[in-house]
């Protein structure tokens, strides 16, 4: 029997965008609505494709203090699916564990919604024309710090139809994400399921293509300029014929897209050319985003004559403002979040090192500190003592790690720029 289902995860409904600076009020409004609108689009997709069921593999909300608006919007979407006779299956992850937080939905879920508990793996058959076409299994996190290997609790047994397992977990210890509900690929492969509908990893990944399919759909809406949040985001539509699964079809549902531009300025002569280069890249990304608003972050690299221009105080901010002005008022909007100056001066530091002057001495000091961790630590403590690190951490500010060799290099370049009379 043929049918299809939709697999989504990490909705993080009504949660803030992180890692970006202040934006215009209009754009801020659009960003606030983006995760909710992406969820609305997911509901529309399931209805349009006449999906048999929709899987929500954890992290529906961003935290235990889930917003009322997010809960009501989610409930509204589930009601619409219910009215369209589409079943919904929910497991909770580390961001929205089952036993913490509170629920505004005291009236209970709609009839066709299944919320899996945390004690044991639940199992629900899905029927069509009196026949069981699939069995969906799942288990939720009880608390945020779920460190047990929940995958080992799954047992397909003699379930009828397509066997689908839902779990929020970190398979194989993927570094960029917290190691909640850790498990190995082998734990999943030998479980007897046909499709592992996973959540937790925001970058879309298919860990195994068939027998069984092990799939992270990625999050529904990018949330920051970090690498795993860049590019198209959405859900997977999985076509099934009896127990044969076609390769999942990715459908982008994000309402605002993050993108990053890395521009090598080695050959660029001046700022206008750099500006034009950045705008050209932005135009190409706009075309690729298929009419979606874009949040752009640009990084300018290379040993370039532009270094002298960019290190001047206010130059990067000025360039950023010019770029924003250039695209101001465009529809859909394009917002330049940040331009990072990662350029290096043209002068050959190795040549400077060979000299006998102050600059050579300074590089020598920097090189010594780079090679000695203890000295570098003492040096950092001496000159970074004024930083109220504890206070800032308490406020949730992500502080840079203790200075490493690369930071010393950057500091040395800055020192030489200032000593050389080049403003920064």
């Amino acid at each position: 029997m043929r049918f299809c289902f939709v697999h989504a995860a990490d909705l993080h409904l009504d949660t803030p965008f992180s890692g970006i600076g202040k934006v215009d009020p209009d754009i801020a409004g659009a960003l606030q609505e983006a995760s909710l609108q992406a969820f609305d689009a997911l509901v529309e997709l399931a209805i349009a494709r006449t999906a048999k069921f929709v899987l929500f593999s954890g992290d529906i909300y961003d935290g235990p203090e889930r917003g009322v608006r997010a809960q009501l919007r989610f409930l509204s979407g589930l009601r619409r699916l219910d009215e369209a006779s589409i079943r919904s299956f929910i497991v909770h992850g580390n961001h929205d564990p089952l036993l913490t937080g509170w629920s505004a939905m005291r009236g209970g879920w709609p009839r066709l919604v299944t919320q899996f508990g945390h004690h044991e793996v639940g199992q629900v058959p899905v029927e069509q024309d009196g026949e069981t076409v699939a069995t969906v299994c799942g288990i939720s996190f009880a608390q945020r710090n779920e460190t047990a290997n929940l995958a080992l609790r799954f047992d397909s047994g003699s379930a009828d139809g397509l066997r689908v397992a839902m779990l929020h977990c970190n398979v194989g210890g993927i570094r960029e994400h917290d190691p909640y509900a850790p498990c190995s690929l082998e734990d999943l492969i030998g479980s007897g399921f046909d499709y592992w509908a996973l959540g937790h990893i925001h970058r879309r990944r298919i860990l195994r293509e068939g027998d069984p399919w092990i799939v992270y759909p990625g999050n529904l809406q990018g949330r920051s300029p970090r690498t795993e949040e860049l590019g198209p985001k959405g859900a997977l539509v999985v076509e099934v014929n009896d127990r044969d699964i076609n390769p999942p079809e990715f459908v982008p549902l994000d309402r605002v897209r993050f993108a990053r531009i890395d521009l090598d300025a080695t050959e660029l002569p001046d700022l206008p050319v750099l500006q034009e280069g950045l705008l050209g890249e932005a135009r190409a990304l706009q075309v690729a985003s298929e009419g979606r608003p874009l949040l752009l972050r640009a990084s300018v690299t290379g040993r370039s004559p532009l270094h002298r221009d960019l290190v001047r105080e206010g130059a990067v901010d000025g360039l950023l403002q010019v770029l924003r002005d250039e695209v101001s008022g465009t529809e859909p909007f394009l917002w330049w979040d940040e331009v990072e100056d990662r350029t290096l001066p043209e002068r050959d530091l190795d040549k400077v090192r060979k000299g006998k002057d102050f600059a050579a001495e300074l590089l020598s000091v920097a090189d010594e500190l780079k090679g000695a961790d203890a000295s570098r630590q003492a040096f950092a403590e001496k000159y970074l003592a004024e930083l109220p690190a504890g206070e800032l951490k308490a406020l949730g500010v992500e502080l840079p790690p203790s200075p490493g060799p690369a930071d010393l290099d950057e500091a040395a370049v800055l020192a030489l720029d200032v000593l050389g009379g080049e403003e920064r």
Partner: protein
């Protein structure tokens, strides 16, 4: 690196000023104030590191004495001499390496040990002013300059300044207790946002409570609403009893009165209305009947008055037809009159045309004569042909006459030319004339050669005489070459011989020969020319004998040449039939004769040519004349034939007599006009006949009608028209009368019918009136009216009962409750009802307040639930918090890098100072101790501060030293730094401008010794205006070089007049024997005017050191006079 020297093209007072070969050690530039020492220091700095541009406040030193701005420095290194040049406006820098190739800025930087302008200015080249400004600086800045600024090297900003910049940058990002620092500000902002987030989350968690509150409030609203409704119903019941008491009473009264009133059963409201209607019908029928009777009488009277004429009825239609035709008849009568006048006019015109054509012409002939277009065209063709034939006869006749005239004129010209030719005669032929002219030209040239050759022979004879006389006398040469010059000639001759040898060796034969010859000449002069001295005798001139022999040979050659010329003259003269030595007049006479013969020959040939031409022309003219005669005869015959054909053609066409073609055309025109006139006459006659026939017909019909209508029938024209109009008017009036009678009769018939109907209606109405009274049991109309009024009153009472009943039923409805209410109304206890109403109103008021409160709570809780449900505050605030956190993270990262950079500069500076400071201080201590003769023992650095320690081990702050001692200390520090720089590869000369002036002699001597010591290792240039400074330096170091500068030095005066220098003995010897005073006197004598020092010195190549002594001696001796002060002083010979 050291200075070899410089060349200043134009800079301040300097122009073309060059110094070279500076020693490695010590050089003193000694010059008075305004000699240009500071200018020179600025020049050296500018060439090495660039001159200040227009924006700089530093002095610019434009070239006051002209010349290209700038100049060049010559720098010695181990590789050789470099040249660094900055010239032009703006200055253009050029660097030339020792091998002559062009160098780069990098090459120059390397040569200067990467020292920049500041390093050079602070450590190596400084003036007294800069030394003083350094002393006035705060200790930290001094330290900066000495220990940090001086060692910056290729970096452009002193480390302490960079530290300040970095600290400032870090401070703008993060600074304890600084509200404006960005991280501090963002920190505060973030705290505020976090507080708002907590509040928003708390608000969100109150959602269930808000929902519960909303449900409770809704229940209260319902409960209180129900109670309020029940009380309100009861209240309304008592209010209804009060309201219905009045209608209840009114209904009862009305019902009683109805029972009392009696009305017969047949009486209704309609009976009165019907009776009124019938009475009106009766009255109307009677009025109508009377009116119709009056109308009938009027109709009968009008019918009697309308009388008709029966005789007019049969002719009425014919009269109308004829009346309509009268207007056409009148216009036809007018047209007949005008047609008759036109016919007479056309008839007169035709007769006139016929008379013009002639008696033989009448209507019939005119109509038969052909004047068609083909015939007219044929007439024109024949006329054209005849004119062409006549024209040809005329043309040929005129041509024949012209040719005859030309024949006559040409014959006369031939006769005149034959006479001219005879008069000219027979001059010689051209060949013969040519030969004579050639001989004449040769003879003239030979005569000129003879004159020149004769002069040459005479000069040769004179030269021979002179040579023979010199040979006999052996005369000495005039004096000119001194012994020193002879040596010079010999030396130069040797050099030229050497050059010749080199050229020969280089396979350059021509230059080798030239060099050899010049060398030989110079050596010859040196050896053969000697100064005349009293002790030596006259010298023989070698080669005079050869010159005599040579002159004799030349004389012989010239004499032979003269004889050849004279032989040629004799030959040419013979050809011209002249004597062997013809005189010039003879030759010219012969030339004149030949010119006349040449003219006669030209005239003869010209006349012969003209005669031949005229004869040829005459033959041609005769031939043309004969030909034209024949052509003329043929043309005449042709013309006659065509005239004969014309006569024949006219006869055939019936032309009355032979006419010319033009005459016949005129005839055609006249006949044509006759034809047109005849046609118009016929047309007019036809029209007139038709009009007259129509008029007669009409008059006949009118006559018939009139006779039948009792009128005169013999009428015509206007009378007939008037008669028919009168008859027509009578017919029209008779028709009108007949129509009126028909209308009146119809009206009479109608009125009779209406009268019968009106009578019937009256009878019927009276019957209906009687029936109504009977039905109502009324005797008459008045009784019936009374019955009806009673009936109306009863009806009003019934309405009152109905309305009251309706009111009661509306308020009370029906059923058990309504019956109870009616029973309650029967009691009429209004006081009780009002008390109940008061009680219920109070209870309802209380319940209303409670319900409003519940409603408000319900509304508030509903709004709260909606607000929380739709609120995006948490998301918005968290987004703001994230943005703020991100901004703080960014700034912390930036602050961290800036702070680390600051730390790197601090650590490096500390290390640098520790590494280099001890050497510098130790060296400066030793020098300072020597300079102060042990008064100050050493220097000490404590916490970055510099102190001096005296011989009693007392530490003294630098700022407490005297100006002189501080300057000595800073000089010593510079020397120490300079040595440290040299040790690190930056070895540059030290230049000091007037730095010793504040020192007492003892300390100055000490400093001089220190400078001398430094100059053992590094080149030192000391600028001073005090000769004693030079003396002290010389005492400290004997092998120094002193270069003296003059006040307002430079080379050429501003806009110096251009005067050719007088020829003096070249190459004055630099030896002490040379008399410069004599040279100055000779120069001034030759110039014959006042001259300046620079001009004299430059022209003589005089060393500066020779000038003062020489000029003073001349002035003292009264030979030379000085005019003006030293600046711009002019010199001239006394009395000159």
């Amino acid at each position: 690196m050291r200075f070899d020297g410089w060349y200043i093209e134009g800079f301040g007072l300097f122009r073309g000023y060059e110094v070279r070969d500076l020693p490695d050690g010590l050089t003193v530039l000694l010059g008075p104030n305004e000699a240009g020492k500071s200018t020179l220091l600025a020049f050296i700095r500018g060439v090495l590191f660039g001159f200040p541009d227009g924006r700089s406040a530093a002095p610019k030193y434009p070239p006051l004495r002209g010349g290209q701005p700038g100049g060049r420095l010559f720098l010695d290194s181990e590789e050789g001499t470099w040249t660094v040049e900055r010239v032009g406006q703006p200055y253009v820098r050029s660097v030339y390496l020792p091998d002559g190739s062009a160098g780069t800025q990098d090459d120059l930087d390397a040569l200067l040990g990467h020292a920049d302008r500041d390093v050079f200015g602070n450590i190596f080249a400084f003036s007294l002013e800069e030394l003083e400004s350094l002393a006035a600086l705060e200790a930290d800045s001094v330290k900066e300059r000495i220990f940090a600024g001086g060692v910056v090297g290729r970096t452009g900003r002193p480390p302490r300044e960079a530290l300040k910049t970095l600290a400032q940058r870090a401070g703008t990002l993060l600074k304890p207790r600084a509200a404006a620092a960005e991280i501090n500000r963002l920190n505060r902002e973030l705290k505020g946002i976090k507080t708002q987030i907590r509040e928003a989350r708390t608000a969100a968690q109150s959602y269930p409570k808000a929902v519960e509150e909303r449900e409770k409030a809704a229940k209260d609203v319902k409960r209180l609403g129900d109670a309020l409704a029940a009380k309100t119903i009861e209240l309304e019941r008592y209010r209804a009893l009060l309201d219905l008491a009045e209608p209840w009473s009114r209904r009862a009264t009305a019902q009683e009165e109805i029972q009392r009133i009696r009305v017969p059963e047949g009486v209704t409201e309609e009976a009165q209305d019907r009776l009124n209607g019938v009475l009106l019908e009766i009255k109307g029928a009677r009025t109508r009947r009377d009116t119709l009777r009056e109308e009938l009488r009027g109709h009968e009277e009008r019918l009697a008055k309308a009388v008709v004429d029966d005789a007019l009825l049969p002719v009425a239609d014919e009269v109308k037809t004829l009346f309509r035709a009268t207007s056409a008849y009148e216009s036809d009568l007018e047209r007949i009159g005008s047609a008759r006048r036109q016919r007479e006019s056309e008839d007169d015109k035709l007769l006139s045309e016929l008379e013009r054509l002639g008696p033989a012409w009448d209507r019939a002939r005119v109509e038969g004569f052909d004047v068609s277009i083909p015939t007219a065209e044929e007439v024109r063709s024949r006329g054209r042909s005849m004119r062409e034939a006549g024209n040809e006869v005329n043309r040929l006749g005129a041509e024949l006459e012209r040719v005859s005239r030309d024949v006559k004129e040409t014959s006369g010209e031939v006769s005149r030319l034959e006479g001219d030719l005879q008069a000219v005669g027979s001059p010689p032929a051209h060949e013969e004339l040519g030969r004579g002219e050639g001989a004449l030209a040769s003879l003239r040239a030979s005569l000129q050669d003879e004159v020149a050759a004769t002069g040459s022979v005479e000069r040769a004879e004179e030269a021979l005489g002179n040579a023979r006389t010199m040979l006999a006398a052996s005369v000495p040469l005039p004096p000119g070459v001194t012994g020193r010059q002879r040596i010079s000639f010999a030396l130069f001759g040797g050099l030229f011989f050497l050059g010749a040898a080199v050229m020969a060796f280089a396979s350059q034969p021509v230059p080798a020969v030239v060099f050899g010859v010049v060398g030989a000449l110079l050596i010859g002069v040196a050896l053969g020319n000697r100064r005349v001295t009293p002790a030596s005798g006259p010298a023989k001139v070698p080669g005079i004998g050869e010159r005599v022999a040579q002159t004799e040979r030349q004389l012989k050659d010239r004499q032979a040449r003269l004889q050849e010329i004279r032989d040629a003259i004799a030959s040419e003269a013979a050809r011209l039939e002249l004597g062997p030595s013809p005189s010039a007049s003879e030759v010219e006479e012969r030339a004149l004769l030949m010119a006349r013969q040449r003219e006669a020959r030209r005239q003869h040939e010209s006349v012969s040519k003209s005669l031949e031409s005229q004869q040829t022309k005459l033959v041609g003219l005769e031939r043309d004349k004969a030909s034209l005669g024949g052509d003329l005869e043929r043309a005449r015959s042709e013309a006659e034939a065509r005239e004969q054909e014309w006569v024949t053609w006219c006869a055939a066409r019936g032309v009355p007599e032979p006419l010319s073609p033009e005459g016949l055309n005129d005839l055609f025109t006249s006949v044509g006009r006759c034809k047109e006139s005849l046609a118009r006459l016929k047309e007019t006659e036809g029209e007139l006949e038709e009009l007259e026939r129509g008029a007669a017909d009409l008059e006949e019909r009118v006559s018939a009608v009139l006779s039948s209508g009792h009128a005169s029938s013999d009428l015509a024209g206007a009378e007939m028209v008037a008669a028919i109009q009168v008859l027509h008017e009578r017919v029209r009036e008779d028709e009108e009368t007949r129509n009126n009678r028909k209308g009146i009769q119809t009206a009479i018939d109608g009125t009779n019918k209406e009268m019968a109907l009106a009578q019937e209606e009256l009878g019927a109405a009276e019957e209906r009136r009687d029936a109504i009274l009977k039905d109502c049991e009324a005797a008459d109309e008045a009784e019936l009216k009374s019955f009806v009024e009673r009936l109306a009153h009863t009806k009003q009472l019934q309405e009152t009962v109905g309305a009251s009943t309706e009111t009661l039923e509306t308020r009370l409805g029906k059923g058990k409750s309504a019956d109870q209410m009616l029973e309650e109304l029967e009691t009429g206890d209004r006081a009780r009802w009002q008390a109940e109403i008061k009680r219920l109103e109070d209870e309802i008021g209380e319940l209303g307040l409670k319900r409003d409160d519940a409603l408000r709570r319900d509304q508030d809780s509903t709004q709260e639930v909606t607000k929380i449900g739709q609120s995006s505050d948490v998301a918005r605030l968290e987004t703001e918090a994230e943005a703020c956190q991100h901004q703080i993270s960014q700034r912390v990262a930036r602050w961290q890098v800036t702070s680390l950079a600051r730390g790197l500069v601090c650590e490096t500076l500390d290390r640098f100072e520790k590494k280099h400071q001890p050497k510098v201080v130790a060296r400066a201590s030793a020098l300072f101790k020597d300079v102060t003769d042990g008064h100050y023992e050493t220097l000490a650095v404590r916490d970055g501060e510099l102190d001096v320690v005296d011989s009693h081990s007392t530490r003294i702050d630098v700022r407490n030293l005297s100006t002189g001692a501080a300057q000595q200390l800073y000089l010593c520090l510079r020397f120490g730094l300079a040595e440290e720089f040299a040790a690190r590869g930056t070895s540059l000369p030290l230049i000091m401008d007037e730095v010793l002036v504040n020192f007492d002699p003892e300390r100055a001597a000490g400093v001089a010794r220190a400078i001398a010591e430094v100059s053992e290792k590094q080149q030192v240039l000391v600028f001073s205006c005090h000769p004693e400074t030079a003396d002290m330096m010389r005492e400290a170091r004997g092998d120094l070089r002193v270069i003296e500068l003059e006040r307002f030095a430079g080379s050429a005066p501003i806009e110096a007049p251009v005067v050719p220098a007088p020829e003096l003995n070249p190459e004055p010897s630099p030896s002490a024997e040379f008399d410069w005073g004599r040279a100055i006197v000779d120069f001034l004598s030759a110039a014959g005017r006042l001259c300046g020092k620079s001009e004299i010195v430059a022209a003589l190549g005089m060393p500066q050191k020779e000038w003062t002594g020489s000029i003073r001696a001349l002035i003292k001796a009264g030979i030379v006079m000085q005019y003006g002060e030293r600046r711009g002083a002019q010199y001239g010979l006394l009395g000159g």
